[in-house]
Assembly symmetry: C2
Homo-oligomer: 888 residues x 2
């Protein structure tokens, strides 16, 4: 029976192997690399089998023999040519860029229409302030509530920015339903409504997500034609390019888009992917702007927020301290924004009464927030002090304006024209308006971005930064009315330049990126302020990074997505902490010659998701790793009622002779593999998304807790099916199949009649058998580190390869394990533990150098001695001591 | 004696461990990671020992007990504070930026002075054309010859661009003498002279090299104060930042500098390093430009080649095809340039007569090339048709000019002003001048960059590209004198914009980068042409990358530096080739229980630099890897005359009783380890630089060929020392030491009297002993792949981790090995083998899926069976079959 079981296993293995392909390299996350869309596509392909695939011409030639063959052949070749082209990267990237440009443009159009409608309503009702107020407040509330409700119903995954999730996905984690068509639709419509409401929300983050979904869907669509879209590595590359496209077509900033997406989503970036991002983002930005030209919005392709600062003398050298001040202040402001945003979320969660209430009425919170914010921005009300009637885009245009607003000295002739008028208040001055604007928008943006609609925080922060820069610029202009430069020419100070610097600095501080500098150059179409912008952005980053995580990392932590903290600026001690300082030494393992009882033991004693497989307990040579679910499957397989029945039946068989045919055995076993092992789906079970704590251990390992009674439990489950089966079976035409089926049912009932005591006895007996690993999936090369590896290097490798865990070995022997958890603890422990440091970093460095090298030698000696032991004494005289060496 | 040998070994091990620290992780290149400077610094520290190190305050407190203690403590704390600050990254980066800005500015100043001098001489001699010609030709010839000679004498490593070498170094290869002070001086002075000569040479590449040397020297200097500069990972990070600084302060282009250096030197880039590059490059560019302001060259900080194109309507949508044409043509041109450059080098090498002649007169070739080029550019001669009197910088300024040169239609009033005059020829038109300029400069630049002086090719190519762009732009302007736009406003075509596009496209094509786009924006201070530039650069890259390697990769291949080719644009078949298709299956290995004879056998039969260490021949479980030199050292150790003498002496000892003290044994063995094993230096032997074929195998493995007679050979070597030793020994004062020494010498002479036959017999006997690995350095965790790993993934991992080789394992068992060579062959084979493809990629994919999974299972089965075998039958009845299983 063992032999036939083997062939059965190899049959199902052939199918598994296909999936195994993708899961070979390292740990779990890398195995799970690739997107949900890819899984879907692969599943589809498997279902469809070979029939739906584009056929080889040879096959098709036979098929079309009868009709006009040459014509067909030609058509086929054309088709093949097209398919081969479709498979190429650049076709994909062009399609992606095109689609995203269209989406971006259409959304911009829709948003502009929505905002226009609000303005029109507000303008039309200027006879009655109350009606005006009602219109002003109701419109965004309805839009936001609709957006929240729509998203909630269609795809809750669409809520929020999307950048944190993309970062996690690019690290190799599979997030369920995160790149599907449903989410795409929900995000696009939800975002349009949310932005159309005029709330301080952004579109950059969501666009990254939208572009990624677009790429996933596109690759799924194209995989119907070509065969190249199955590869996981390629999918990750395409997703990375998609992120660049998202930013690129949102701001018409291809270079900034590529850089920003790299900084925000990657830890290590493959330079060979660079061109993909540039290509797609450029194409997308190009189409996006060409659409504007065709729509007669623009005369030609220019920047989105074009500035017209003078080129000859953009700024004076002595203005640089002011730019530096903007940078430092933006750093603090950015950190405060992240802190505030997190605190709001945490407050809403912690307050149980609020929370319970909001849980019931999910749409109340968005509506309430919108009501408050739109009330405060009502132009005839408080809004008059903060340029409330301007949309986000208008605000930015006015802030980047060329003119100086402060009516000081010779600027008397200056008049507030057009939309600039909003900043002027007859009874107050521009400085007050700016300060009020900054303060109000700051908390409004932090609050608004917590609303459960698709929205980003980049643009609001960008606007606040621009306003702050403008404030500093206006102050400087008021202070030095004739400019600082004392030479012949008078170069007045350009406050618009300060606004550009401020925008880059604050958005850089919040997102922890320096590429916001490039984004502002592309947005404004001028690069003359490059040095002030760079200085401010770098200073802002330095300050913000030392105070708070980036907004996206903060959201990752809030959402409890798996992450690996970055090594901060110049933490030199990281170079001196070693793996041996942080690794878990006391780990459970599976030996090659263990019994099922040992497996049970291991499953009970640990919650590790990957168990190391070692040669034997005394050699501890690491052979591979086996997933917990696989171990569970092995166990439940061994104790399954089917096997019990088989045993029983074999007894009966020896009495009855060859009553049953081989086919029935086969049938029985195939039933078993399909229903008895829930290993595969549980294995690739994606994480639950968005603001829910991941309940990993009970869900992931059903066999673990219940292995003792798994037999009985499975039996009852199986019998429930069994009782219904005969009725189904009666409908079948083939007599033989029916007979086989009935005979199984008979035996199941027969097996059912075993008493629980008998079953337990049988199970105990089964547990003492040695484990047959041949049907289990073993990762044959789990990632290995050595004890000396520095924390710095470990961090590098974990983030490079997207590892989840690594085993620590010493000359082949397993000595410990490091998982993301330990690494996280080690990094954050030394980052946050400012007061007490358990041991000085250099000390641990010096100890470990001496001690572990000795340990290494000892380990080798042991291994060597064991071998000496093994072979040498045998020649001298066999027996005694080496026996108890190997059997223990 | 075995026991005492063990303690001896552990003593010398403690010292080795320090070096072992750095060599832990993977293969050879990663072990050798870090710069020469670091090695030097580490060596210095080791030499100086603990005495020269900044002491702990506790130690110093005791020391200063007697004098004014509080004062000292305060001073100490200040010192410690400073040292702790010095250790921080940003201090290092600021210093680096500052130094490089000063170097760049000083060099620019010197170069400008040189060029001025030439102009002055040429201008002053305008009475006599012959004298003028002599001055025009002699001046650059002298400078170039001096530069070549100076570089040749001081540091031949300084020749050339430096980017290829930096790429290799950042991959982890140690190039000898490449980052030393001598090379720094040679490069700076050589480059100044070379550029001062007015030849079409660039400074970008050399600046990358100079900045890297600067970083290495700075870190060596600072390591005298702090303890943080020893780390190899940190050094690599700093070198990467230095490359960015190099480009940044060369062009005052911080963003472009960072991106360019990433694209050119890295395959995978750590985003966490990003800020380092930005910080240092920004600071450096800032100081560089501030120096210009302080020197009254500029009024304020502006771009290096500032353009003043109109902002409102930079270009028409309908001009885009012309930009695309520039891109595509630049792609072909770039590929041609790389091809031409390589062919010139290869031609010079292959022509034996030329070669022999040039080898003798090394300075003749530079002088000859300079003579030809300067003759052709002589302004009253042929130079008048190619704007010969303009320096590179002036050329660029004129090409980026705002005006339209072609005298067409309404442009009659246009006059050639100032330096623009050079482009005007009375008897010819601007188009002819431009075409001649482009054609002549093209081959001149390709030729000039092969001169053995420090020089780059970026700037010449940039200029040629600008000229080509200008040509297209002028043609367009001539074709559409009133612009293309048909609406109300007339927007004329701006040929300067075309020049910018052309410059970015051609330099992008030659270097295979897209960041040249960013560099031109920063150079010109205008970003309005972003879309044309991006489109042209991407098209140029697409064309050039499909035709030729980048200039730097081409030089890497010419210089035979170790490299890993890039995976090109969309080679999908890479996803389907697997490791098992390319790996070497028949590899030699060392088993844990082998004899010295086996080692000898292995060394004879293979040239692999790293030998896998497996548990036993039948289990094949990979335990680690051992370097070839280590194996050689083990062998020569075993057969060393010292050991022979020890054996001999022990015989004598048993007769003489305890005549010799323990200390003499100790002494003897320490002598042995210092002179007998040449393993360490050979191990870290750096590659020979610059244009010489690396002769790896004979140099690296001296013990391999001569192991048979190693005893005899070593003996004679040792005896030569031994005969001189007594005279030295007589000088020593301590009687005991002398006695010991003499006794050793006595015995050596005694051993010397063994006949060769006796020695051979003794050696044969020694070879049959089992190997003692305890003194050998074993890499306990060599990198492992599995058979299914795709070529794409393998390439990623190799370039990510800078691997040199990886073992292929299957459930712990060694099945093959992949080295850089196989990988290179696999990638290039399928890249170049256009006609014949040995097997269709998909076929291999499908075969392997089925076959290897089965093989995997079989392997596991075998292993499992072996274990079953091992333990089960023993319980039943010990003996027989498992014995021959394990001893074989």
């Amino acid at each position: 029976s063992g032999g036939s079981g083997g062939t059965m296993a190899s049959e199902s293995e052939a199918q598994r192997a296909l999936q195994y392909e993708q899961t070979l390299m390292y740990g779990r996350y890398t195995q799970d690399l690739g997107t949900f869309a890819k899984d879907e596509a692969a599943r589809l392909r498997l279902q469809e089998g070979d029939t739906a695939r584009p056929r080889r011409p040879s096959e098709l030639l036979e098929y079309s023999q009868g009709r006009c063959a040459p014509c067909r052949v030609c058509a086929l070749q054309c088709q093949r040519f097209l398919i081969s082209k479709v498979g190429e990267d650049w076709v994909f990237l062009i399609l992606l860029g095109l689609v995203m440009a269209l989406v971006s443009w259409a959304m911009d159009f829709a948003i502009a229409t929505c905002l226009q409608a609000q303005k029109w309503m507000y303008g039309g009702l200027d006879t009655n302030v109350l009606l005006q107020y009602m219109a002003w407040v109701t419109y965004p509330t309805v839009l936001i509530t609709f957006s929240a409700g729509f998203t909630q119903i269609l795809a809750p995954q669409a809520v929020g920015s999307g950048i944190p999730e993309m970062k996690t996905i690019l690290r190799g984690v599979v997030l369920k339903e995160y790149l599907t068509l449903k989410t795409f639709v929900a995000k696009v419509i939800g975002l349009t409504c949310a932005l159309g409401s005029g709330m301080p929300l952004g579109k950059e983050g969501p666009f990254v997500h939208i572009a990624s979904m677009c790429a996933a869907l596109l690759s799924r669509f194209l995989s119907l034609f070509g065969g190249f879209y199955e590869n996981e590595a390629r999918n990750i590359e395409m997703l990375a390019a998609a992120c660049a496209v998202g930013v690129g077509c949102c701001f018409a900033a291809p270079i900034g888009g590529v850089l920003f997406s790299i900084e925000v989503t990657s830890t290590f970036f493959a330079v060979r992917n660079y061109w993909r991002g540039f290509f797609a983002a450029t194409f997308s930005a190009f189409i996006f702007r060409v659409l504007a030209v065709w729509n007669k919005d623009e005369e030609t392709i220019t920047a989105l927020f074009k500035t017209r600062f003078r080129l000859d003398f953009p700024f004076d050298l002595q203005e640089l301290p002011a730019f530096a001040v903007i940078g430092i202040a933006s750093g603090f402001g950015g950190a405060l924004f992240v802190y505030l945003n997190r605190k709001i979320v945490q407050f809403m969660r912690r307050q149980k009464t609020i929370n319970r209430f909001l849980m019931k009425k999910r749409l109340l919170f968005p509506a309430l927030v919108t009501l408050i914010i739109s009330t405060l921005t009502f132009p005839p009300g408080f809004g008059q002090f903060m340029a409330g009637q301007l949309t986000q885009k208008d605000t930015l245009v006015t802030l980047f304006d060329n003119q100086t607003w402060a009516k000081q000295g010779i600027n008397d002739e200056f008049e507030y024209l057009g939309i600039l008028e909003a900043w002027l208040h007859p009874r107050s001055n521009v400085f007050v308006t700016l300060v009020v604007f900054i303060l109000m928008k700051f908390w409004m943006s932090a609050l608004a971005t917590t609303i459960p609609v698709p929205c980003g925080a980049f643009m609001p922060v960008f606007v606040i930064g621009a306003a702050f820069g403008r404030l500093v610029g206006e102050s400087m202009a008021a202070w030095f009315p004739d400019g600082i430069h004392t030479d012949s020419n008078i170069y007045r100070i350009v406050p618009g330049g300060y606004a550009v610097v401020g925008a880059a600095a604050l958005s850089g501080a919040v997102t922890h990126t320096v590429s916001t500098a490039v984004i502002v150059f592309e947005l404004t179409g001028q690069i003359s302020h490059i040095l002030p912008v760079m200085i401010a952005v770098i200073l802002a980053n330095a300050v913000a990074q030392s105070l708070q995580p980036s907004l996206y990392d903060s959201i990752i932590r809030i959402k409890k997505l798996p992450y690996l903290p970055e090594l901060g600026w110049g933490h030199q001690e990281k170079y001196n902490v070693r793996v041996e300082d942080i690794m878990v030494r006391d780990i459970r393992y599976v030996t090659l010659n263990c019994k099922y009882r040992d497996l049970q033991q291991v499953l009970h004693s640990t919650k590790m998701k990957n168990l190391p497989l070692v040669e034997s307990a005394e050699s501890m040579i690491l052979l591979g790793s086996i997933e917990r679910t696989q171990v569970g499957a092995l166990l439940s397989n061994q104790l399954s009622p089917q096997r019990r029945l088989l045993t029983l039946r074999q007894k009966v068989l020896s009495e009855d002779g060859h009553r049953l045919s081989d086919s029935s055995i086969r049938f029985q076993i195939s039933t078993e593999t399909s229903s008895g092992t829930p290993a595969r789906p549980a294995l690739r079970k994606p994480l639950k998304p968005a603001l829910k704590r991941v309940s990993s251990s009970p869900a992931d390992s059903p066999p673990a807790g219940s292995t003792d009674h798994t037999g009985i439990a499975l039996k009852s489950l199986f019998c429930a099916n069994a009782t219904t089966e005969p009725t189904e079976a009666q409908g079948t035409a083939y007599h033989k199949a029916k007979r086989v089926r009935i005979s199984i049912v008979e035996e199941m009932i027969l097996g059912d009649k075993m008493t629980p005591a008998e079953i337990l006895e049988w199970e105990e007996q089964q547990l003492d058998q040695p484990v047959d690993f041949s049907s289990a999936k073993i990762d044959p090369a789990p990632f290995q580190l050595v004890e000396h590896t520095s924390l710095h290097k470990t961090h590098t490798i974990f983030s490079l390869l997207g590892l989840d865990h690594a085993f620590v070995t010493s000359i082949g022997r397993l000595v410990g394990m490091v998982s993301l958890k330990e690494l996280r603890k080690a990094i954050e422990g030394s980052l946050t533990g400012k007061g007490v440091k358990v041991r000085p970093p250099l000390a641990s460095f010096r100890d470990s150098t001496a001690s572990t090298t000795e340990a290494d030698t000892t380990a080798l000696h042991q291994l060597w001695d064991r071998h000496q032991h093994h072979h040498m004494p045998r020649e001298a005289g066999p027996g005694g001591d080496d026996d108890d060496d190997t059997t223990k």
